[in-house]
């Protein structure tokens, strides 16, 4: 019996069975690939975040501790890749005599490093000019002292006579904050600013100069071990953090108070926890609707054949079959679907994961297979069980709905959900909340799941209200509906409207399914496109432009500098910026002189860069006010500045290397700017700065290129290879190197994955569901044919239904998709740096999506007409 039944199913309803298998396969494939992607992304996020930690551990030795003992304990604690002893000595200042004047700085630090330090920890120090060995002076200190390579400088030791050294090189300390951190302070202590004046000495020289100072003033000298450990850590940042922290504590316990570990690696992993959570939230935010839609699609495909199934079961019951026997048949059918769907989905998932270049996550694969099997069994056995208890042959044969209002309709759940969505969104978006919370000083991050409520309620509420409205509109078969249907059905409009009215529930479900498919496609496409565009803005902000040239020694011949760079192939625009240092009160800040009229030609100036949210107006204001200046919010607040207020800055004049007061006028607040640091900085007009400081020298060039930025960067490097201290960077490299922020999570793979699935959903809902629905109602169309309906009339009947699904579903889906994308961007605003000004629209994808949806509908209609013409007598024989 079982074999006969299954053979019959395969012969007679193979398309429905295949359709359901297809739905299960999509669900399994989506969950497998999405889960594997999340797993891989988290692993990659962890790996990339810790790859750029300059020094994993800075182990500060207590006075009197023998470094060798700590080193031994360290080797017993963990796998060590490199260890360097570093001396930190406080100095009262540095001084130099040049050009007939003596310059003396404030207090600073003298570092003592071994000869292999550069090799072991390459990102701590960057040589700008001169040698990497010998006495190295920090760039800012060199500027303060007006010293350069070859100059003699005095180190003013604490409690000892000054010592004189020759400067061998000028260096930058990109990781100064962590390099000079106060190890052992509680995590909630205020961060300490790194010293303004630093000199780096060879280890032997440092010991010669400061061993005595350590005896006299032990508080002014400390010793650290800088350590790089093995990064063979768990893939989850939380687990990796725990592992690293445990090892650090273990070391501290082994040396019993002899050393304190400054755990930079742990701190990085801690901050990555939030990023990883953000990444998971982001991926789930985008992925869960897809998986849900796949499940709904499967349920709908299975439901398309429910009437036939009910009829068959009712006939079996009439012939004496027991409920258990009927259920056995349903279980057999479900097993075929489950095995087929799960196998096909697993293969598809494996192929997709391979195409994305990631590895299959076993846990996620298991979950996906389980969900797929559950879905197949649930969607086929539960309805069969319900039907086996209730259905009569007459009731089963009916195609006309006996729809009673569901509970959700009676209690207006749809309206309630939409109101909840609006209130939650309004509240969360206006109270400066964060999706991922990383409380200060607490080594744990968490997700505010409440923020999911707004998009979830909107999604569900919109689907339900669409169901209510569409069914309500169709069930009345009003003159409006009939008039609209005349466009597609012509004379048959009254019949089509009447048919729609009696099947309004079924049709409304179809429309809502199409709507959900379109909303998924659109919200995903809009969010991902916006995200990718914003990642590029982020990279551009970090790098400054497509290609950025920065020099340690400013170019005084500005015109020549510009023309040389402009002459490079593919360079479309060039803008020069002055980079100086300026005192605002006692605070030394980066100062940028720009040409506000031409800067935007060479780089992207976002509205989000400015507090007033208007880049064009701000730059225009700067252009019309020569002495205008833009400062950070912190500076504006500290000095209680209001637009138009005069502000005096102290700028260094190249002629005498002294700081002179230059009057400016405060115009507004700048938050971010190309090449500028994240904290305080100042923007002013380059012409005014050149006039008041008697120098137009520029040290930054921003290039907009039409070709490959990295290729132009290579050419620029070659062009400027003879110039000392030149650094050329490009946006492609910057994008790859941004590792500390969430935008480093590449959505490219996920975008491809989701957009492909979205296309499948749209085509499946608009074409497959329609096709299966036509097949299930072929009796009605066969009667129409027998009555004498011509091809065009049959087509009009079918197209009316197709058009209803396509037009109403896609329009409602687009509206919902845009709304969801807006909410996603607002809710996940922490992902973006800077936040986007609007949604980026992928027009080409949307056009392809619509074209495929129309094609899917067209194929379904065309196929139904062809089948009907071919088999009308066969169908009639079955009447």
């Amino acid at each position: 019996m079982l074999q006969l039944w299954l053979a019959g199913l395969v012969r007679r309803v193979q398309w429905r069975i295949l359709g359901t298998i297809f739905g299960v396969a999509i669900t399994v494939a989506l969950l497998t690939s999405l889960g594997s992607y999340i797993s891989s992304s988290t692993h990659s996020l962890t790996r990339r975040a810790i790859a750029h930690v300059p020094v994993d551990w800075q182990i500060e030795l207590a006075p009197g501790t023998n470094p060798s003992e700590v080193r031994k304990a360290l080797l017993r604690t963990t796998d060590v890749l490199a260890v360097q002893l570093v001396g930190y000595a406080g100095i009262a200042g540095l001084s130099t005599a040049a050009h007939g004047t003596t310059q003396t700085t404030a207090s600073g630090k003298a570092l003592g490093i071994g000869s292999h330090y550069f090799a072991d920890f390459p990102s701590e120090l960057r040589v700008l000019t001169g040698s990497s060995q010998g006495v190295l002076l920090m760039q800012q200190t060199a500027a303060n002292l007006h010293a350069t390579v070859g100059d003699r400088i005095s180190l003013l030791r604490v409690g000892l006579a000054p010592v004189v050294v020759h400067v061998d090189g000028i260096v930058d300390l990109p990781q100064a904050d962590s390099l000079f951190q106060a190890v052992g302070l509680p995590s909630n202590a205020a961060p300490q600013a790194p010293p303004d004046n630093v000199v780096v000495l060879p280890e032997t020289l440092w010991h010669r100069f400061f061993d005595r100072q350590a005896s006299l003033r032990p508080d002014s000298v400390r010793i650290q071990l800088h350590v790089r450990i093995s990064h063979a850590l768990p893939s989850s940042p939380t687990a990796a953090y725990t592992a690293v922290t445990d090892r650090a504590k273990n070391l501290e316990a082994r040396v019993t108070g002899g050393a304190t570990v400054g755990n930079n690696l742990g701190a990085q992993l801690l901050s990555t926890q939030a990023d990883a959570l953000y990444a998971s939230v982001l991926l789930w935010f985008l992925g869960i609707p897809g998986a849900t839609l796949a499940a709904i699609l499967t349920i709908t495909i299975a439901a398309v054949g429910r009437r036939r199934q009910a009829l068959e079961q009712a006939l079996l019951r009439v012939r004496g079959a027991r409920s258990a026997q009927i259920l056995q048949l349903a279980v057999a059918e479900a097993a075929v679907v489950a095995i087929g769907g799960v196998a096909l989905g697993a293969i598809a998932g494996w192929v997709i994961v391979g195409a994305l270049g990631i590895s299959l996550a076993p846990v996620w694969t298991g979950i996906a297979l389980f969900v797929g099997a559950l879905l197949a069994l649930g969607t086929m056995i539960v309805p069969a069980w319900l039907q086996s208890r209730e259905t009569t042959v007459v009731a089963a044969r009916s195609t006309v709905e006996r729809h009673e209002r569901s509970l959700w309709e009676r209690v207006y759940l749809d309206a309630i959900l939409l109101i909840v969505a609006a209130v939650v969104f309004w509240q969360t978006a206006n109270t400066g909340y964060q999706v991922v919370v990383a409380p200060e000083g607490v080594p744990q991050t968490s997700v505010q799941y409440a923020v999911f409520l707004a998009p979830f309620c909107l999604w569900l509420g919109a689907a339900l209200i669409a169901l209510r409205l569409i069914r309500g509109s169709l069930s009345r078969a009003s003159n409006t509906v009939t008039s609209l249907l005349r466009v597609s059905a012509g004379n048959l409009a009254p019949l089509v409207a009447a048919s729609f009215a009696r099947q309004s529930h079924l049709l409304a479900k179809g429309v809502v399914l199409v709507m959900l498919a379109f909303s998924f496609a659109l919200s995903t496409a809009l969010f991902n496109t916006t995200y990718n565009a914003q990642s590029r803005v982020d990279a551009q902000l970090t790098n400054g432009a497509d290609v950025t040239v920065q020099t340690h020694v400013p170019f005084t011949s500005v015109a020549s500098f510009r023309s040389r760079l402009s002459g490079l192939p593919d360079v479309r625009a060039t803008a020069l910026m002055q980079h100086r240092l300026a005192y605002v009160g006692n605070d030394l800040q980066d100062f940028y002189g720009i040409d506000s009229r031409t800067l935007a030609q060479a780089t992207t100036i976002s509205n989000a860069f400015f507090a007033n949210g208007n880049a064009a107006a701000t730059l225009n204001s700067l252009a019309t006010n020569p002495d205008g200046v833009l400062v950070s919010q912190e500076t504006a607040t500290t000095y209680e500045l209001h637009p138009g207020d005069p502000i005096n800055l102290r700028l260094q004049w190249p002629s005498d290397h002294r700081y002179h007061v230059v009057p400016f006028r405060f115009l507004g607040v700048v938050r971010e700017f190309p090449t500028a640091p994240k904290d305080s900085f100042i923007i002013a007009n380059a012409d005014y700065v050149a006039r008041t400081t008697t120098s137009a020298a520029a040290s930054i060039a921003l290039l907009r290129v039409s070709g490959s930025p990295s290729a132009t960067a290579a050419q620029a490097r070659k062009l400027l290879e003879s110039v000392p201290g030149v650094q050329v960077t490009d946006i492609e490299t910057a994008t790859r190197e941004i590792s500390a922020s969430l935008t480093s999570v590449s959505l490219a793979g996920l975008t491809a994955l989701e957009l492909s699935f979205a296309v499948v959903f749209v085509v499946a809902t608009s074409g497959l569901i329609l096709g299966l629905s036509f097949a299930e109602r072929r009796r009605m169309y066969a009667i129409l044919c027998a009555l004498g309906a011509r091809d065009n009339q049959l087509r009009a009947f079918l197209w009316s239904e197709g058009a209803l699904l396509l037009i109403v579903g896609s329009a409602a889906g687009c509206a919902l998709g845009v709304a969801l994308a807006h909410i996603l961007v607002a809710v996940l605003t922490g992902v973006f740096d800077p936040p986007p000004e609007g949604l980026a629209v992928p027009w080409a994808y949307i056009a392809v999506l619509f074209a495929l949806a129309v094609a899917g509908t067209g194929v379904a209609v065309g196929n139904a007409v062809a089948v009907m013409k071919r088999s009308v007598t066969q169908t009639i024989r079955e009447l």
Partner: protein, 226 residues
């Protein structure tokens, strides 16, 4: 059977000449109609008698242009445009319920008129026919809300709607008890009394066949006219 001798004074609405219909699958070959020749003239009342599986339905479908013969030719001398046969000239009534289930009784009867583009008069004409066959009381009901006998009468009313000149009824009383079947036929004949419409009724019930003027017998696809 031998060729029928046509009455040249009658107008022929459907003619089958040496028609053969074979249904072939990979495993089986079934000759449903074998070398059948027949003619239906205006005003004819013909009973097509034969047991189940004898080829009645297939012959009716061939005569109604629903299917094409494997051999031979079916023609409609009065209506050269085959695409215009149904519902303008020929209508079907089937054995099983054949009403469009999402549509009401009135809309079902209206359907052939709308297919013909007679939008303005469709509703009025449908109501008239329903009144004539005594079904105006169920005009707004759905097919599932009426009895089998009523459904067949509605199907017949629908067949009449476009004033066809040939109605092909495939065992229209097959699902009805004998009394209801006779009552149905009474209603049919009453409705057709003033019409020149030809009627071919496939049946295996001799008593029903006896109420029609002419009888054709078909067995194993071979047609014999009496």
């Amino acid at each position: 059977m031998g060729a029928l001798v046509p009455d040249v004074n009658q107008q022929i609405v459907a003619r089958a000449a040496n028609v053969k219909k074979v249904f072939q699958t990979a495993e089986t070959r079934t000759v449903a109609v074998d070398q059948a020749s027949c003619e239906v003239a205006i005003g004819d009342r013909i009973a097509l008698i034969g047991p189940s599986g004898s080829g009645k339905s297939t012959l009716l479908q061939l005569l109604g242009g629903l299917d094409d013969p494997t051999e031979g030719r079916v023609s409609w001398p009065l209506w050269p445009d085959r695409s215009d046969l149904r519902p303008r000239h020929i209508a079907f009534v089937f054995q099983m319920p054949s009403l469009l289930e999402p549509l009401s009784v009135l809309e079902n009867v209206e359907a052939p008129l709308l297919l013909l583009g007679q939008v303005k008069d469709a509703r009025a004409r449908a109501r008239t026919i329903l009144r004539e066959v005594g079904l105006e009381g169920i005009a707004d009901k759905l097919p599932e809300q009426i009895s089998g006998g009523q459904a067949q009468r509605v199907a017949f009313a629908r067949a009449l709607a476009a004033r066809p000149q040939l109605i092909l009824a495939d065992e229209p009383t097959g699902q009805l008890d004998h009394a209801t079947a006779l009552s149905f036929l009474d209603a049919v004949f009453a409705a057709l009394q003033s019409e020149s419409t030809a009627l071919v009724v496939a049946t295996h019930d001799e008593s029903i066949a006896g109420r029609l003027k002419r009888q054709w017998h078909i067995s194993h696809g071979v047609l014999q006219a009496l």
